[in-house]
């Protein structure tokens, strides 16, 4: 018996990256803008969407894919805000990949929406590594997490196309310096747009809505 060494040099993420690229092409053809929303658990993804959907729902047909390990509490809240919603159960997985995202898109007729928001699993590490096929990536940093988050999770801030700073009403109670946070974010991703909001009171959510609207129009061109 002889030992043979097969030289492969195969990138194991190739399948994911190819599928993600195909999904983006399909969404472009369908004129459906897919926003991948990422953040740590408890930063206010669902609350942000609940405040955002009423500002966009008269202009755009909106669908939300809620990824959670195993529950449907978020999907129920999204329906109450006025958007179509489906729940993706990741069954313990800490992130979504292009395959799971595409299955989600297939299961609720993505072409019938102008905007689909993918609420990724609450996690700042793994979701940053897997291209989902989204048109753009948004991430939420909430005030209680600290203004040094961009230094601890650099990749998340590099793959994001916009950073939302949520829970600004908490800033006086936490040692959170918004200028320092902006500086730290720009250190990781120069020139990235930063939108401070308070999802609970609705402050600043109009600016996030305007950013999304601009991106949808661009995507549909």
């Amino acid at each position: 018996m002889s030992v043979k060494i097969i030289d492969l040099k195969a990138n194991v993420m190739d399948d994911n990256n190819i599928l993600a690229e195909n999904t983006r092409k399909r969404l472009k053809a369908e004129k459906t803008f897919l926003l991948n929303l990422m953040s740590a658990p408890g930063s206010g993804k669902t609350t942000t969407l609940s405040a955002l959907i009423p500002l966009l729902k008269d202009k755009f047909r909106i669908g939300v894919m809620e990824a959670d390990i195993d529950s449907d509490v978020d999907a129920v809240r999204i329906k109450e805000a006025g958007a179509e919603s489906i729940q993706l159960h990741t069954g313990g997985m800490c992130h979504l990949d292009a395959d799971m995202t595409t299955q989600g898109l297939d299961s609720f007729d993505s072409a019938s929406f102008d905007l689909v928001i993918l609420e990724n699993v609450g996690n700042l590490v793994c979701p940053a590594e897997f291209d989902t096929g989204a048109s753009k990536n948004a991430m939420i940093l909430s005030v209680p997490e600290g203004d040094d988050k961009p230094l601890k999770y650099p990749l998340m801030f590099q793959v994001a196309d916009v950073v939302v700073i949520n829970k600004t009403d908490f800033a006086p109670y936490f040692d959170f310096d918004i200028e320092k946070a902006k500086k730290n974010i720009h250190m990781r991703h120069p020139d990235i747009e930063i939108i401070p909001i308070c999802a609970k009171t609705g402050e600043g959510v109009d600016k996030l809505a305007a950013w999304i609207e601009k991106e949808i129009i661009e995507w549909k061109k």
């Binding site: 018996m1 002889s2 030992v3 043979k4 060494i5 097969i6 030289d7 492969l8 040099k9 195969a10 990138n11 194991v12 993420m13 399948d15 994911n16 997985m93 800490c94 992130h95 990949d97 590490v125 793994c126 590594e129 897997f130 230094l151 650099p154 990749l155 590099q158 720009h186 250190m187 990781r188 991703h189 120069p190």
Partner: protein
């Protein structure tokens, strides 16, 4: 925990190669792991043993080769980001860089018995 995602992809790819080559068994797979993938080698080793049970890869080893992160700054400097410079460019202090290496997991080779 994302190690399992990588392991499943690696094992599928290696098993496919082994079958194509009509291998009797697989001795070892060699994997290059970028340092910016957030992968813990300890868990890769641990999950690999579980993932390959009952497959053509059963009994094989996994060798992990760490790959440094490399970046190319807007100023043209190529460097490895380090904490000593806050991961910024050591020449110009800028943060406008493209990551050029260290984010991939590559199945470099598969050693098989034929």
């Amino acid at each position: 925990m994302h190690e399992m995602s990588y392991i499943i992809r690696l094992a599928d790819l290696a098993a496919k190669t082994a079958k194509e080559q009509e291998a009797k068994r697989v001795k070892k797979i060699v994997v290059e792991v970028g340092k910016m993938t957030g992968i813990e080698p300890y868990y890769m080793q641990k999950y690999y043993k579980t993932a390959i049970r009952g497959t053509i890869l059963d009994g094989s080893e996994i060798e992990l080769i760490p790959v440094e992160v490399t970046a190319k700054c807007a100023c043209g400097k190529e460097y490895t980001p380090t904490a000593a410079y806050d991961y910024l460019c050591p020449d110009c202090g800028g943060g406008s860089c493209k990551i050029t290496g260290g984010r991939d997991v590559i199945l470099k080779e598969v050693a098989i018995e034929v």
